[in-house]
């Protein structure tokens, strides 16, 4: 249990664009242990998806990684050959994307796409019949009714929730050790999102794999993960066991973020965090949250606070806890 499956260390990612260089990831550190369920929350544009794409090595061509390591079972993904990373993507780590419609090929049947994934997920030579049986089993596992018919369907013939289930089925074939779920229910209705999240939770548990669940819907990760990382503008600002984080957030950003979430108990919506997410071309020198922080001190404007372990099981990057 204590063994680290994935370890992201001091990862920086920049994007080169016409206007200059966007310094997006600013030294991200996160670890995922075997069988651990990890949540990653933060507002859009904070670098959640960039971090995950770096892990999968699917960043766009204009992305640069000036510094950092991503250790997968002790080996650096960033230094692997294309063949090696492809093998890992085929067999060990897989990702579910936010928009299931864009993730599926509209001109191929679900069966053709799913069976392709199965064929390449193993070195064994499978017969067509075996592949088909595995495809049907994969669809049954994600609770899709009438899998034989669905294999013949094109994605457009299915609802958004069903498409997302198919993406989960596909991802699980290759995710023998780690599943990355990037906002898996965000575009779907709340009842469907609820079903999808419960499904992912059950399957991950059954198969004993690790999962990273990304969401900007804060409540969505709560019932599902063991620990949560909070990201702000390319930095991990806080990490804590799920219950602790939601009952007692300690980073000023996490505290402010939780306050802005409308509560089912009513009471109005508190004022938004003042200011806006920094410009990634010229990000603030010290703590990237300092310009918006109500507790900002002179040091926060000059130095970047390191992510420090406190109370043994939680981490925070803030000079208030120095």
């Amino acid at each position: 249990m204590s063994e680290n499956l994935l370890e992201v260390k001091d990862l920086y990612v920049n994007y080169k664009i016409y206007e200059g260089i966007l310094k997006v990831l600013n030294g991200v550190n996160l670890t995922v242990k075997k069988k651990e369920k990890v949540g990653l929350i933060g507002e859009s544009g904070c670098g959640k998806t960039t971090t995950m794409k770096a892990i999968m090595r699917i960043l766009p061509d204009n992305a640069l990684i000036p510094n950092g390591n991503i250790f997968y079972k002790g080996r650096d993904i960033l230094k692997m050959s294309d063949d090696e990373i492809q093998k890992i993507r085929r067999e060990n780590i897989s990702m579910i994307f936010q928009d299931p419609t864009a993730a599926l090929n509209p001109v191929l049947t679900v069966g053709a796409q799913l069976m392709d994934v199965i064929k390449y997920s193993t070195d064994e030579e499978l017969t067509k019949r075996e592949i088909r049986e595995l495809a049907i089993k994969a669809l049954k596992d994600v609770a899709l009714p009438d899998p034989e018919r669905i294999l013949k369907n094109y994605p457009i013939m299915l609802s958004g929730g069903m498409r997302q289930r198919i993406c989960i089925a596909m991802a699980l074939i290759s995710a023998k050790e780690l599943l990355i779920a990037d906002e898996p229910g965000t575009n779907l209705d709340v009842t469907i999102q609820d079903q999808i999240l419960r499904l992912i939770g059950r399957l991950v548990e059954e198969r004993g794999i690790s999962v990273i669940l990304i969401s900007h819907a804060l409540g969505a990760v709560k019932g599902l993960v063991d620990k949560v990382y909070v990201m702000y503008a390319g930095d991990i600002v806080e990490m804590a066991p799920t219950e602790k984080l939601f009952s007692d957030p300690i980073h000023p950003y996490t505290q402010a973020l939780f306050k802005t979430v409308p509560k089912l108990t009513g009471g109005g919506i508190p004022e938004a965090i003042k200011g806006r997410i920094p410009d990634y071309i010229n990000p603030p020198k010290g703590c990237r949250f300092a310009p918006r922080c109500i507790h900002a001190m002179p040091i926060c404007m000059k130095e970047k606070p390191p992510l420090k372990n406190i109370e043994g099981e939680r981490e925070v990057a803030c000079f208030l806890y120095e």
Binding site: E43, A217, G219, P262, K263, L264
Partner: protein, 318 residues
């Protein structure tokens, strides 16, 4: 009819013909919106919330039914509505990226309603600046293009444009669902402040029930074109009656223990909203309902008033 009812919708129907058959997007709904309140409309996608708003606004002509505005019937199409009436009713759309003309400066966008309705003649520029200030945007935005500002700021521009004609009623169709929570907080607070200042009436559409709890005075819940339950907001959240309402409330992801407590006991979400072309018999919700009875498969239940102002459409309460 009460004088304070600004909008009255009576048995409204809007059907669309498609190659697959007739879609009953809105299928006989009735409700009223009182002056100065925020009437919330919730439901899953495809439930007919937006169609209802578009029909009230006159974008779609209703297939059947009546809409009254301040007591007098509204002409069905917006084209037949006099300018003075159009001035009174405005709308803010879900995606601010596509509801603002990317080739016009923000000043021009907000100024257009002033010119159309001949308001503040001769001092349009100043009025545009006042409107920008009203929604909390810097006045130097006047010369910028929509592409140069963020999504939340675009939505504030859309709100300023809606306010420009000095309406008494605004339909807000998922105004924050494309935005982050902190931007959402800013926009919602701006909307609520302006509502108080100008005594506006809102029709607020969202699928986010936690948000609805905090903005609406009354809530109506829609499913496949039908209204299932209407109640005062606190009643709606503390004493939900319809099994569908309970399922929706139970599915909301929440972050605090207090919220967990007011959620109905775990009603497992199951099934999906059926195709609107091929709707179930009887009560439309019966295939997903945990309390489904024999009668539900055959008969569509009537809307009944269970307690004052709390309406529900379910055989459990007839």
């Amino acid at each position: 009819m009460n004088n304070d009812e600004i909008i009255q919708v009576k048995d409204l129907k809007k059907y669309f013909k498609t190659s697959l058959g007739i879609v009953r997007a809105v299928d006989g709904i009735s409700f009223t919106i009182r002056e100065g309140e925020t009437f919330g409309l919730v439901g899953e996608s495809g439930s007919g919330k937006s169609t209802t708003a578009f029909t009230i606004m006159g974008v779609y002509e209703p297939t059947d039914g009546e809409i009254y505005f301040k007591g007098s019937p509204l002409p069905k199409s917006v084209k037949k509505r006099p300018l003075s009436l159009r001035k009174e009713m405005q709308m803010v759309f879900q995606d601010p990226g596509s509801s603002l003309n990317p080739r016009k400066r923000i000043g021009q966008i907000i100024e257009l309603p002033l010119r159309v309705h001949r308001l503040h003649v001769g001092r349009e520029r100043e009025r545009v600046k006042e409107l920008l200030e009203m929604v909390g945007l810097p006045v130097d935005f006047i010369n910028r293009y929509p592409g140069a500002i963020g999504g939340g700021e675009k939505q504030l521009v859309a709100i300023a444009r809606a306010l420009a004609s000095e309406p008494s009623f605004i339909a807000l169709d998922e105004p924050t669902s494309a935005l982050d929570v902190s931007m959402q907080a800013k926009i919602i607070n701006t909307l609520l402040r302006i509502q108080k200042e100008l005594n506006l009436t809102y029709l607020f559409i969202t699928h986010n029930l936690s948000l609805m709890r905090n903005v609406a005075s009354r809530v109506g819940i829609m499913y496949l074109g039908k209204m299932f339950e209407v109640a005062e907001t606190s009643e709606f959240f503390h004493k939900p009656l319809h099994p569908y309402t309970k399922m929706l409330l139970s599915a909301i992801p929440v972050i605090t223990e207090e919220e967990e407590k007011i959620k109905p006991k775990r009603v497992i979400s199951r099934g999906e909203i059926p195709s609107p072309v091929n709707v179930p018999s009887g009560c439309y919700f019966h295939p997903r309902c945990i309390d489904c009875m024999e009668i539900c498969k055959k008969e569509d239940p009537p809307m009944v008033e269970v307690s004052t102002g709390h309406f529900v459409k379910c055989h459990l309460y007839t």
